[in-house]
């Protein structure tokens, strides 16, 4: 299996070009970066803070901070890892201000799934809910790597850059998280 799929390479090149343009003040380039990353950033934030409203506020904060700090980004190719670091720091600041750890709660269905409710397969929705509950029950360190890797598709090297840990540590955390998830989702995994 290659380390990077062709799509990943092309996507990375495009992100780097957009980040370089946005760094020079190109708002349209930044909007395209936002489009490419908003779902991933929001998903990570939602799983870290456990509240869709707080996640939306923190996503706004993350992108505005990124826009302000972009001129200081030396390597545009590292934009994704850099953006996720800003998001994690936003969570840390948020938790410091509220002076408490946000309790892990089950996340409600996302907007697009809710609007498609009439046509949604109830069984599939139940499976999604089960997966979300299982992920939100993980310890924070495992939850964030699962959110970044399995949910958002970030490669383990980028996650290592985000967290400031070696790639092997990321792989190890993912492995332990998967064991926990498998136990929690036995029926879902066996049905699949």
């Amino acid at each position: 299996m290659p380390l990077l799929a062709r799509d990943d390479v092309e996507r990375g090149t495009e992100v780097a070009a957009l980040a370089a343009a946005a760094r020079e003040g190109d708002r349209e380039a930044f909007r395209r970066l936002f489009e490419a990353h908003q779902r991933g950033v929001y998903t990570l934030l939602a799983y870290l803070v456990g509240s869709p409203d707080d996640a939306a506020d923190l996503a706004q904060t993350t992108f505005v901070k990124a826009w302000r700090a972009l001129p200081g980004l030396r390597e545009p190719a590292t934009f994704t890892a850099w953006l996720y670091r800003i998001a994690r720091n936003a969570v840390r600041d948020h938790q410091r201000k509220t002076a408490r750890r946000v309790p892990v709660v089950a996340l409600p269905a996302a907007a697009e799934e809710a609007t498609a409710g009439a046509e949604a397969d109830l069984l599939a929705e139940e499976r999604r809910e089960a997966v979300r509950r299982a992920v939100t029950s993980l310890p924070a360190k495992h939850r964030e790597v699962v959110a970044m890797h399995h949910l958002n598709g970030l490669d383990v090297r980028t996650i290592g850059e985000v967290l400031g840990v070696p790639t092997n540590t990321v792989i190890s955390r993912l492995s332990r998280a998967r064991q926990t998830l498998r136990r929690a989702l036995t029926s879902v995994v066996e049905e699949g």
């Binding site: 299996m1 003040g25 779902r39 929001y42 998903t43 706004q60 001129p71 979300r132 383990v156 699949g192």
Partner: protein, 177 residues
């Protein structure tokens, strides 16, 4: 832990984790493939992990609120377009003169000290020092002349650098109303 072929099941499970992370070295692929072909337990484990991965990818992502870009762009509109940091030489020029002079003097001192040998430098005579800082405030010169009198070529040049800084500072102080 049982094994199939040359690879133990423990080793195979570790390689499965690498494979899921797209980090499996190519030279290990054939060995893992052979083990999975011969070991139903590890093959089942691999399939279960693939299923879990697929479930997580399809079920886990969340859609942000539809007005998120409107909120972000509204906040961006309240702020000026960020500017790229200016090159070093432009930032030095923009600095107040004493600060810029200090930075230049520090660079000169570091350059002198960083040379492999200062033996080729000849000590400066007090006359040269006086000539250089002739326009400087006498108090500043006196302060640094004590340093310049310390024997040694490197200290002479260092003293000259600090004296020049003081001279520029003093001159600027005099020019201000």
């Amino acid at each position: 832990m049982p094994s199939a072929g040359d690879m133990s099941c423990r080793r195979a499970r570790a390689l499965l984790a690498l494979q899921l992370a797209a980090q499996l070295p190519w030279e290990q692929e054939a060995g893992l493939h052979d083990h999975l072909a011969a070991c139903p337990a590890c093959r089942g484990e691999g399939e279960a992990l693939q299923t879990l991965d697929a479930e997580l990818r399809t079920a886990g992502t969340l859609a942000p609120p539809g007005d998120l870009w409107r909120r972000v762009s509204a906040e961006m509109a309240r702020q000026p377009v960020p500017e790229a940091p200016a090159p070093l030489w432009r930032r030095l020029l923009a600095m107040p003169t004493p600060l810029a002079a200090t930075a230049v003097a520090a660079a000169v001192v570091l350059t002198v000290l960083a040379r492999p040998s200062a033996a080729h430098l000849r000590p400066l005579s007090p006359e040269v020092g006086r000539a250089v800082v002739a326009d400087a405030d006498a108090a500043f010169y006196a302060q640094h002349y004590a340093v310049a009198a310390w024997p040694g070529p490197a200290t002479d040049h260092m003293a000259l650098g600090t004296t020049l800084v003081s001279a520029v500072s003093a001159q600027e102080a005099e020019e201000q109303p």
